[in-house]
Structures are given as structure tokens and as C-alpha cells.
């Protein structure tokens, strides 16, 4: 494989990493408050600290709708939004918009599930001590759920690596783009193989790092 091809692979890898990094960041920014809200407005028996059935079911519906959309379709639908925010709808930077929005509802559910694992008795104790709702979320729920949250974020990153490869198919750049354009359209099986292996390695690294961090947090308790 020539140096030129290796450089191509290296650049694509960097593009994928940047897409995944920023879309993880933005999907957390969107998904964390949404997940906390989903949890907090839920039923009291399940730990909801400010039960609001109507808001909860509306949010829950929206999250479900977004999650059941095939990612490719969602991405095409969000082209106008990318153009509005970034100025273009193709390329690595533009792809961050649909990636973040596609992952946000997933993040929200993961956060909601992690928070539901927190012992309701502990939340009751915090409330009995006169914590505000914000203090309960920040100083009790999130620290208590941290090991599950870390696993959840790792899962999100892995999903986004997969999504970002798919985004390549419609001009998103990165390893997926490389595999389609060189590997598939130009019959370069070797490039496709390398692209897939790099993606595999990335996923493996994230999974192992996530597991280790989560286990270390648990061991400290």
C-alpha cells in the first residue's frame, strides 16, 4: 500500500474521530438534560422527583419517534438544519449535526435508565434532608449512577462510530466514506478491509476503556 493511501486512511481516521468526538459531546449536551427530565418527570414509584405525567409522555413519544427513524433518512431530513447551522450539508463538520441529533434521544434513554437504577430510598433521604431538586440531580443521582453512566457513554460512542461510517455513504467523510468510495466503488478490497479493521479497533478500544473506567468507579465504593 502506497504512502498516499496510508495518508488517506490516516486522514479518514482523524475525520471519523473528530465526528465521533464532537457528536458525542453535543449528543450529551442535548441528551443529558433530556434524560434527567425524562427521569424526573416520571412516576414517583420509579423515582420521579417532580412527577409530570403529561410532559413525561410527550417527551417519551418524541424520543421514541426520533429513535425509530432510520438514521440515513434522519440525516437526509436534517440536511437543511446542517446547512443553516454550518453553511453546508456535506463533509465532516456538517455530519456532526445529524449525528448529534440522532444520538441525543439514545443518550436520553440511557441516562434515564441509569438514573432509574439509583436506590429510591437514597433519593428520599436526600429529599428529607432538604435538598433542592437540582441538588438531588447533581449531588446524588448523577454521582450515584456514575458507573452506569460511563458504560452508557461508551455505548453511545460505539453507536456513533457506526453511525458516522453510515454517514460516509452520503458525503459525510471519514472511514465509512473511504470504504465506500475507494473500497466499494473502485474495487479496492484492501482499502475497505483496512477501513473496517480501523473501525473495529476503535470500537474495541472504547468498549474496553468504558468497561475499565466503570469497574474502577464501582471498586472505589
Amino acid at each position: 500500500m502506497s504512502a498516499k493511501i496510508l495518508l488517506l486512511i490516516w486522514n479518514s481516521t482523524l475525520q471519523t474521530l473528530s465526528m465521533v468526538f464532537f457528536s458525542t459531546l453535543f449528543s450529551l449536551v442535548l441528551g443529558l438534560p433530556l434524560g434527567v427530565l425524562l427521569f424526573a418527570t416520571g412516576e414517583e414509584e420509579q423515582g420521579g422527583i417532580i412527577p409530570m405525567p403529561l410532559l413525561n409522555s410527550v417527551l417519551s413519544r418524541i424520543v421514541n419517534v426520533l429513535r425509530s427513524f432510520p438514521f440515513i433518512i434522519l440525516m437526509i431530513l436534517l440536511f437543511p438544519l446542517s446547512r443553516l447551522l454550518i453553511g453546508t450539508s456535506i463533509g465532516t463538520t456538517a455530519t456532526i449535526v445529524p449525528l448529534s441529533i440522532a444520538a441525543a434521544p439514545f443518550v436520553a434513554r440511557i441516562i434515564e435508565t441509569a438514573l432509574k437504577e439509583v436506590d429510591p430510598g437514597v433519593v428520599q433521604a436526600a429529599r428529607a434532608m432538604g435538598s433542592t431538586n437540582f441538588q438531588i440531580v447533581r449531588k446524588v443521582l448523577i454521582p450515584e449512577a456514575m458507573p452506569s453512566l460511563v458504560s452508557g457513554v461508551a455505548l453511545t460512542i460505539i453507536n456513533l462510530i457506526g453511525y458516522s461510517a453510515m454517514a460516509g455513504a452520503i458525503g459525510g467523510g471519514g472511514l465509512g466514506d473511504l470504504a465506500i468510495r475507494y473500497g466499494y466503488q473502485r474495487f479496492r478490497g484492501d482499502i475497505m478491509l483496512v477501513a473496517v479493521i480501523v473501525i473495529l479497533v476503535l470500537v474495541e478500544i472504547v468498549q474496553i476503556a468504558g468497561n475499565r473506567l466503570s469497574a474502577r468507579l464501582l471498586a472505589r465504593r
Binding site: G121, Q124, A128, M129, G130, S131, P143, R221
Partner: protein, 337 residues
Amino acid sequence: MQIRLKDLKKSYGSLHAVNGISLSIPSNLIYGIIGKSGAGKSTLVRLISLLEKPDAGEVHFDEVRVDNLTKEELIRRRRRVGMIFQNFNLFSSRNAAQNVAYPLEIIGTPKAEIAARVAELLELVGLADRGKAPISTLSGGQKQRVAIARALACNPDILFCDEATSALDPQTTHSILSLLKEIQRKMGLTIVMITHQMEVVRDVCDRVAVLDDGRVVEEGPVTDIFAKPKSDVTKEFLSHLVGTDASSEEQMVQWSSKSGAYILRFRGETTDQPILSQITRETGIDFNIRAGGVQKVGGEVEIGTLIVDIQGSEEEQENVVARLREFGVHVEKEERP
């Protein structure tokens, strides 16, 4: 701090969990609230610890009505109330010292002050050297001690103990109860113990209210309740404790596997008098003693219990019972099935 409850009501659907409870809990003592599961204890404690609002009725702390506070007032009021739980409910993400620090953190206490206060509190509960210990490494008794330290951090006027010893073994229960008693004396606060264990009431409480079916069926000083129980629920609680039922061996010496027809309860000085033989001499009627024992209530007053059959005709038995009552003995006739 004195607590007054006025005709409290709370239902969940068609279940009247708390069905018109009025109580006055005097300040500076340990007050027991006992009931079987489903009697409404948990709901009652959620109402008086301001975790839930009643459907009807009022809660007063001293002269202040507290069941209708606004959100901000409620949060401020809760900070003056300590609470400990059956399952300890400690934060597993924090070590022992950080758990105790939590209530101080949420009111914005400066760091240095928190450190000093936490050290003082851990010392008070006998865990001065375990501050850095993760919660999972502590025993049940130690966890409850941390929970007590945490509950006392903000110098509360009231400490609610919701089944605080139910998950602990007898020795640990005993040590936690002595700690609570010591703290009550030192800090002069009002402790409300919600429990289903009559031992807890006997060993630490000054007064007790017996709950059944969402209502108070009996209330008074613990010594009175032990010496002269009125309601069936109370008698049942006592029978588990002093062994008038066959299943319990504690506190009671049994001479006969069969239960007797009468339960006699003596209190204080009457435990020292030869009442039975005196009555036998007067009336010529014999007692057959099936079982008997003496137990200390509140660590001071002795309550004696005897389970006996009384010989003779029904009329003679009634005479004997009347004579026993003159001596200040509380007599209950067992209903034979």
C-alpha cells in the same frame, strides 16, 4: 420541639393509609409509634417528616403549622429535621465522612467548618477512624451510625427513626438504641421512633402510640401501656414480647406447654409483694402458674407477667380477679378457642 398532629388523613386510591390521626408528641423525649405492617406507620412518618402532604388535617411543629408550607419553606424546614431509615439510605458514591458532610454541603457551609463538624459527629457515633471508609465496607451497625451522624449534622430539633433497627441483629440493635438514647439526652431533641418491634419501645421509648388500621388505638407512657394494655393490638404485641404465646421463649419461664386462662400484669412495687399466696390464704382458691417473668421497661420500671389458671367456679374466679385488681394487678382473661 413539640409535634402536634390534628386529624391527619391520607389515602392512596381507596386505601385509607392514615385515617384521622391526632397526636401530641411532647418535646425532649423518645416517642414510639408502633404498628404492624400496613397499620399506616410509613405513611404517618412521611406526613410528619414533611415528605408528603396530608389529604386533610394539620401538622404543627411547636406553634408553627408545617403541612402547608411553600416549596422553599418546606426545604428550609426539612433541613432542621433529621431522619434515619431501615436500609440506612447512605450515598454509595461517597465515603462515610462525605456522607455526613452532605447535609452541610447543601446549605453552603464553608469547607473547613464542614471538616471540623464531620470529625466531631463521627466521634460522637464512635466511628472517628472510619471517615475514609467506603460505605460498602461498613457493617450494618456502622452504616446506621453514619446515618445517625448525617441526620444530626445540621443540629435538628427532631430525629425521625423509620424502622431504624429492623434490619439489625439484636446486639447491634441494642447498641444503636443506647446511642440514640445518649444522643437524646445530650442534645435534648425529640426522637420519634417508628417501629414494629415492642423491644424497641420497651428499651428506649418514654411514650408510645399504638397504630392499627390507620388510627391510634392506644397512647400513653410506655410503663402504663406495658402494665395495663387496653387494645387487642397492644396485647398481641406484648404477647410476642413476653411469651404469652407458645412461639416465644424470650423473657418467660414456662412450666407448662399449655397456656393459662388469665394473664396477670404487675408493675413497679407490686412485683415485690406475695399477692397470689395472700389471696389463696384469704379465699382458699389455688392458682396454677403456667409461665411467668419480669422485664425492665425503659431500663428502670419492672413489669411482671404471670400466666395462670384460677381454680374454682366461675363466681369464685371472678372474686379472685376482683381481689387481684384491688392489689393493682392488671388482669386479662384469655379467650379460649
